[in-house]
């Protein structure tokens, strides 16, 4: 390469996938109505229109096939119970009677100033971890990641005054994830979602008891991945997931919005974008070629559920979801093959071995 060309190349504005997001003019905050779980209800053009994740389960269950037995499916579904039935976990308001029989003490607003803000921030992180989180980071509230509407087109209006969002990661069980795409693997996701409900509801109540507003959320209300990036938990990989340095994408995300004064974390860059440029493991392993093989990230989109105007490797979520419906449940193959996940020594586990190991422990 000539020196002039080299120089020109270096002076070009660098487009980055994360932790700084490169957005184009056509970027708009996303509506959850357009997400795959929203579109499945209304988008007649979608191949899986009105085909839900568990519709084919009766045809799929097979006692002869490891990971696809009735026990595996029951385990996967049961693990979602807290998430699915404790819907008030995601209440925007304080939880009150009749669930809580104790009279409410009316707390003063806990005083936070320059002198104690560092300690309060660390306390919030410690408390979040005490409730079961493995990773916690805090980002400034950024309106552009909040959904404009929920899955059924109800507009989302974040209350005025929200200043921070506490991004939380719960690491999913390595053995279980490595059985992907089996139904057994669904247990890791379901547990993650149920843990989410427990962690965010408890943390929100903690914050409210200190006199501040708290809005606990799972996948709803705002995009969890960019928020987790802003809060320093990781970066976005070729597989479109939040990828952490130590656990890869084997992390379930949730978040709590608050007006409590808190210190914000630095974003992290551990070189993931460079790594993903050179590595196509997740694209090769994907069960339905939903992950891009493109050498470089770009503004290309592959599905109507891809948010436009963001520089990255967009995932064809329609194809991904199509596999989930044919698989009778979620898949985590792109999580399990990632070298950042494998740093812990994880390998693919046959669902038979998974059960052998679990039963031997009893």
């Amino acid at each position: 390469m000539s020196d002039v060309k080299k120089k020109e190349g270096k002076n070009k504005k660098k487009l980055t996938v994360s932790p700084e997001f490169t957005l184009k003019d056509d970027f708009e905050p996303f509506s959850e109505y357009d997400s795959i779980f929203g579109r499945v209800n209304w988008d007649e053009k979608m191949k899986t229109y009105k085909v839900y994740m568990y519709d084919k389960v009766p045809d799929i269950l097979d006692e002869e096939q490891p990971g696809y037995t009735q026990i595996d499916h029951a385990l996967a579904i049961a693990s979602w119970t807290v998430h699915d039935y404790f819907r008030r976990a995601f209440s925007w308001e304080k939880l009150a009677k009749p669930n809580n029989m104790m009279p409410d003490a009316l707390p003063e607003v806990y005083k936070i100033d320059e002198k104690n803000i560092d300690k309060v921030t660390r306390t919030i992180k410690a408390v979040t971890k005490s409730f079961g989180a493995d990773m916690v980071g805090i980002a400034p509230y950024d309106k552009k990641w909040t959904y404009t509407e929920d899955r059924v087109e109800t507009p989302i209006e974040m209350p005025e005054g929200m200043t921070s969002v506490i991004a939380i990661g719960a690491v999913m069980d390595a053995d279980t994830i490595s059985t992907s795409p089996s139904m057994t693997q669904g247990f890791a996701s379901g547990m993650g979602y149920s843990q989410m409900a427990f962690i965010v509801s408890s943390l929100a109540e903690f914050i409210r008891k200190l006199g501040y507003r708290a809005i606990p959320t799972g996948n709803d209300t705002a995009l969890s991945i960019p928020i987790a990036v802003d809060a320093g938990l990781g970066q976005v990989g070729r597989n479109g997931l939040l990828t952490t340095r130590d656990h890869g994408a084997r992390v379930r995300l949730c978040k709590v919005f608050t007006d409590m004064p808190l210190l914000h974390d630095e974003k992290v860059d551990f070189g993931l974008t460079d790594y993903c440029r050179k590595c196509k493991r997740c694209a090769e392993a994907c069960e339905n070629e939903a992950i891009s093989f493109d050498d470089e990230p770009s503004f290309k989109t592959y599905s109507d559920s891809n948010n436009k105007g963001i520089y990255r490797w967009a995932v064809n979520v329609d194809k991904c979801y199509e596999f989930w419906t044919d698989n009778g449940g979620e898949c985590s193959t792109c999580i399990s093959v990632c070298p950042f996940n494998l740093r812990s020594g994880l390998r693919f586990t046959d669902p038979r071995d998974y059960w052998k190991k679990r039963l031997a422990e009893q």
Partner: protein, 239 residues
């Protein structure tokens, strides 16, 4: 060499030394901060073929250094390694695989990969796949290697990649279809079978349809049966 590069080189080897005694991923953050200099240092280092004997050092370079280098160093480093006379089979496999992942950007390495076609220990398989990714202009020469990978590769992922490349090359699809159908019928891993079944949903051909009907009725794995049904429905829409 500038003083800066010398001190970076010293620091890099000190970190590698530490990593050799206790793996801790301490090399990669340093590489990320000094990409350009480290790229030049490693490019010089790989000129010495003796490096091939130091497998532990190579494994650190592959895991913690190479992924963070720019193509201007990354591809020449791997291409140089491909030219070694004696190369450990695992390193050879990984080098070819990584060049394949750079696809057309790594075409300069094609002549050094071609010679591995037909090689044992999975190397011939990965060479055929990589050359397919790199859009090698004599695709017909790759077909025997890809078919052998599809049938014999020990790792299901390699078989899956061979199937993907064979299906992608529409020009030769007709001739390889019987082997793909055979893999759909008899591969031991349901993930490969379901993937072929899925891809067949885009191939409007009576043999494919027959194979899908058979998979839908008889495959022992429920996911393959379900996917075959989805693909049959897709084909129905095409006709």
């Amino acid at each position: 060499m500038s003083t800066k590069t010398t001190s970076i080189e010293e620091e890099l080897f000190k970190l590698i030394e530490q990593e050799l005694s206790r793996p801790n991923y301490i090399v990669e953050p340093f590489v990320q901060k000094n990409k350009e200099e480290v790229g030049e240092i490693i490019l010089r280092l790989v000129q010495n073929e003796k490096l091939a004997e130091n497998l532990i050092l190579l494994s650190i370079i592959y895991r913690q250094v190479l992924p963070y280098l720019e193509d201007e160093h990354y591809i020449p480093i791997l291409t140089t390694i491909m030219q070694y006379d004696k190369l450990d089979s695992r390193i050879c496999f990984q080098t070819i695989q990584r060049l394949g992942w750079r696809a057309t950007k790594a075409q300069e390495a094609i002549p050094f990969i071609v010679k591995y076609l037909g090689e044992k220990q999975g190397i011939g398989d990965v060479a055929a796949i990589a050359l397919g990714e790199m859009e090698y202009d004599k695709f017909e020469n790759l077909i025997p290697g890809l078919l052998s990978a599809l049938k014999n590769a020990a790792y299901y992922g390699t078989r899956m990649n061979a199937a993907r490349i064979l299906i992608k090359n529409k020009e030769h699809l007709e001739s390889v279809l019987p082997k793909l159908i055979e893999a759909l019928e008899s591969d031991e891993d349901f993930r490969l079978r379901q993937k072929i079944a899925r891809n067949f949903g885009e191939i409007n051909n009576s043999k494919v349809k027959k194979a899908l009907l058979k998979a839908h009725k008889n495959d022992k794995h429920p996911v393959v049966r379900t996917v075959a049904k989805t693909s049959l429905d897709d084909l129905e829409k095409l006709t």
